[in-house]
Every structure is written in structure tokens, then in C-alpha cells.
């Protein structure tokens, strides 16, 4: 029991931290490119630490993100839960890939999320193609190996099996 609580605290504090990093106000220097750290964290936990995450958990954190960003309530929630489900389903194939293939798979997951967001935007009548959005997922995919190792390190340290 205590072990499970400890692990849950680790996962949720990581999720909160990445949410904060996602909505952190950035200086203009970054040209509107902001990395969705929270999506990366959701992909990581859905692939590597299955028992501690879930579709509902991803949905809840997405809802929090929607509230914080002031967007359409449920948009990020939907995207994150779908991303979480996808990365769970493909985890056995993906986990053994070398880094460059992992980056491609991550890019695929993230662009799937972007497509959903584009689709939702289309429904609400504001179809704009935003280059920064796609640039930022490209950068996120490039960062993925480093991010994964870092989280893995933290996980080895904090999570008890």
C-alpha cells in the first residue's frame, strides 16, 4: 500500500511539474514555440510504467491543462487520453526501438494529437494552420530521448517495484 502511494505520488508530481512547464510564460525569444512537456510525460508513463497511469488519469490532467490555458474545456483532455491509449497499445513494439525510431514514433503520436486539435478547431470554425505548433512537436520529438532518459533516471530513484 505504502509502495503504491509512493509511486502514485511520484507519477502525479511529475505530471504536475510537466504541466507547469507546459504553461510557463516564456520570453519572446522562443517565438511562440512551446514544447508540450505534458504530452511527453504522458507518453512516457503510458509506455514505461503502465500500472501507474491510465486513460482517465491522462484525461484528468488534460482537463487541468484546459482550465489553466483557458482553451476549450475537454480539448487537451481528449488529445492526452488518445495519446496515452495509443502509446499504451504500441508499447511492446516501441520500447525496444533505437532512439531515432523512438523519435519518429513520438513525432507520430504528437502529430496525431495536433491533428485532433486541428479537427476540433475546424468544428468551431477557426481553421488556421499554425507553423509554430508543428515546429514545436518536431523539437519535442528531438528532445524525446533525453527526456526519456531523465525520467527513467528519476523513476529508478523514486519508484519502488
Amino acid at each position: 500500500m505504502n509502495k503504491k502511494l509512493n509511486n502514485l505520488i511520484f507519477v502525479w508530481s511529475m505530471m504536475l511539474l510537466t504541466t507547469m512547464m507546459t504553461i510557463m510564460p516564456l520570453p519572446n525569444f522562443f517565438y511562440g514555440i512551446r514544447i508540450e512537456w505534458i504530452s511527453l510525460a504522458v507518453i512516457f508513463f503510458s509506455m514505461m510504467n503502465v500500472s501507474l497511469m491510465g486513460v482517465i488519469a491522462a484525461w484528468a490532467i488534460g482537463l487541468l491543462l484546459d482550465l489553466l490555458q483557458g482553451g476549450l474545456l475537454g480539448e487537451n483532455a481528449l488529445i492526452l487520453s488518445v495519446i496515452s491509449y495509443l502509446s499504451y497499445r504500441f508499447r511492446f513494439q516501441v520500447r525496444v526501438y533505437p532512439d531515432w525510431q523512438l523519435m519518429i514514433v513520438t513525432l507520430f503520436f504528437l502529430s496525431f494529437g495536433n491533428l485532433i486539435s486541428l479537427w476540433i478547431r475546424g468544428f468551431s470554425g477557426r481553421i488556421i494552420f499554425i507553423t509554430e505548433e508543428w515546429l514545436s512537436i518536431l523539437i519535442a520529438a528531438l528532445i524525446w530521448p533525453i527526456f526519456m532518459r531523465l525520467l527513467q533516471m528519476l523513476q529508478n530513484y523514486f519508484v519502488e517495484d
Binding site: L16, I23, V55, L67, Q69, G74, L78, I128
Partner: protein, 283 residues
């Protein structure tokens, strides 16, 4: 050790069952629909935002402490310089204010002659910006004053240079402001030179609004100042919005196409105030 396909590990994870995914997708769709139609998620949002407040507080902590540090560590000489500059500005503003008293009295007298009274119940509430929307196509900011501080839905928000937007959601401790440059935003305006009234639409570009309903025989000039007209009751009358940066007639169009550049720098918003008109309180 090779794994036989029949022995493959198929541990069923309850957390990731497809039923849950479908359930979550349906719930999200309902939420999104309700939210876009301003349904009952409005109250839900208000309550949930209280939960989100600690997170916004922590996120803005580094920014705010940095600001504090900057004040604490900035050099004495620069503070003295700033003080001097502010004193000068203050004197300038005070002398302007003396003129305002005179104009105010004159205005009142003229209104009395006309037997009508303008609505002058305005309060200003200073606020700080907490976050900009990280959704790039949505020009929205979140400010640190909410319904707890007396912000109402629909209150106009301005910065020292001009109008920047209005409150679209009042949460308890913070509120969301839609900027005038957002694609879904329109603001009733008046061109000061000619007195023509129109509506300025947001374009999705933070330095550009567009006016589409001024007839071609208008005498409006490039550089003319545009203020809020007060029609529609959402924005108070007479606040500066921007100036006409481009004016022309396209072939085959019935109206002039006018580009408006807002006075407020919508890319970098610092100090803002919420203008509370008495109108909403009486309603």
C-alpha cells in the same frame, strides 16, 4: 528464450481498457460542445478553476520573484533616474489633469443644457497578467483578478495605451480576457475625425484589426485615431483603440478596406486595468 505466440503476455490493464477510452472521448465531446455553446460548463469551470489556482500561482512564482529581485537589486542610480523621470511625468500629468477639471465642468454644463446625463460610473481595477494562452490561434490572456475582486463578465480591459479586450470568463481568483485581435472578436468603434461608426474585427494578427463597413465616400484619413463608440454596451465610450494604418478600396468591393493598428502592444502586455462600468451592476 523465444516466446511462443500462444504464450504471449496479454496482461489486461484495466486502466487502458478501450471502454474507458470511449467513455472519456464521449465525455470530452459533450464538454467541448457545451463549452463552445456557453452551456452549463460555465459554472463548472468557475468551480474547477479554484482547484487550478494553486498551479497558476506556482507557475508564476519564478516570474514574480524575478520581478521582486529586479526591484531589490537594481542599482541606486537607476532608481534615482527612474524617480526623476516619474516625478517629471507626474507633474506633466497633473498639469494635464487641471485642464481635465475644466473640460469636465464644461462637459457637465453642456450635458445639462441637453438635459441628458452620460453614464459615468466607471471604476478601474488594476490587474496583472498571469498567463497568455499557449494556444497560438487564441488571443487570450489570464489576469490575476477574478469575481472575488469584483470583475464582471464582459468588463472591458485596457492598458496604458488603449483597449486590449474584454473579460469572457470570470473565475473566482482570475479571469480570462479575449484580446481585440482574436479572430472571433469584434469591437464597435468610431473614427474620431469623421464621427463614422463601424465595427473593427480581429484578424488573428496581434498588430492588425480590420474595418469592413465604411463607405467609399468617407473622408477618413490614414493616421486617424479610432476610439470605442460605446454602442452595444460592452465597451465604455471614448477609449482609444488604435489608428488607421492602411486605407484603400479594392476593385469590386462596396466598402473601403481599412487596417487598424491597435495602440496597445498586444504582444507584450504588462500593466492593465479592468474598466468596470456601472451598467452591468444595474442589470
Amino acid at each position: 528464450m523465444a516466446i511462443n505466440p500462444s504464450q504471449r503476455i496479454h496482461r489486461y490493464e484495466k486502466n487502458y481498457s478501450s471502454y474507458r477510452l470511449i467513455f472519456v472521448i464521449v465525455i470530452s465531446c459533450i464538454l467541448m460542445y457545451q463549452d463552445s455553446q456557453d452551456g452549463y460548463t460555465k459554472t463548472l469551470r468557475t468551480y474547477l478553476s479554484v482547484l487550478a489556482y494553486p498551479v497558476t500561482y506556482v507557475v508564476n512564482l519564478p516570474n514574480n520573484t524575478l520581478k521582486g529581485f529586479r526591484v531589490a537589486l537594481s542599482e541606486r542610480s537607476s532608481i534615482i533616474d527612474e524617480n526623476k523621470r516619474l516625478k517629471k511625468e507626474n507633474i506633466q500629468l497633473k498639469s494635464d489633469l487641471q485642464e481635465v477639471y475644466k473640460l469636465d465642468a464644461e462637459n457637465k454644463r453642456l450635458y445639462e443644457l441637453l438635459d441628458s446625463y452620460p453614464d459615468r460610473q466607471k471604476k478601474f481595477l488594476f490587474a496583472d497578467i498571469i498567463a497568455t494562452s499557449s494556444v497560438l490561434d487564441r488571443h487570450q490572456i489570464i489576469i490575476d483578478k477574478g469575481s472575488n475582486d469584483g470583475v464582471n463578465l464582459g468588463d472591458a480591459v485596457a492598458d496604458p495605451n488603449g483597449i486590449i479586450g474584454h473579460v469572457i470568463r470570470d473565475q473566482v481568483f482570475s479571469s480570462e480576457v479575449l484580446l481585440i485581435s482574436d479572430l472571433e472578436h469584434a469591437i464597435p468603434i468610431e473614427i474620431t475625425d469623421t464621427g463614422e461608426r463601424a465595427i473593427a474585427y480581429g484578424t488573428g494578427n496581434k498588430n492588425l484589426l480590420s474595418i469592413k463597413s465604411i463607405p467609399p465616400n468617407s473622408k477618413a484619413q490614414k493616421g486617424a485615431v479610432v476610439i470605442t463608440s460605446g454602442l452595444g454596451g460592452r465597451y465604455p465610450e471614448g477609449f482609444p483603440v488604435g489608428e488607421i494604418s492602411e486605407l484603400g478600396r479594392k476593385e469590386g468591393e462596396n466598402f473601403l478596406t481599412i487596417d487598424l493598428s491597435p495602440f496597445a502592444n498586444l504582444e507584450m502586455i504588462n500593466e492593465i486595468w479592468v474598466i468596470q462600468t456601472g451598467v452591468t451592476e444595474n442589470e
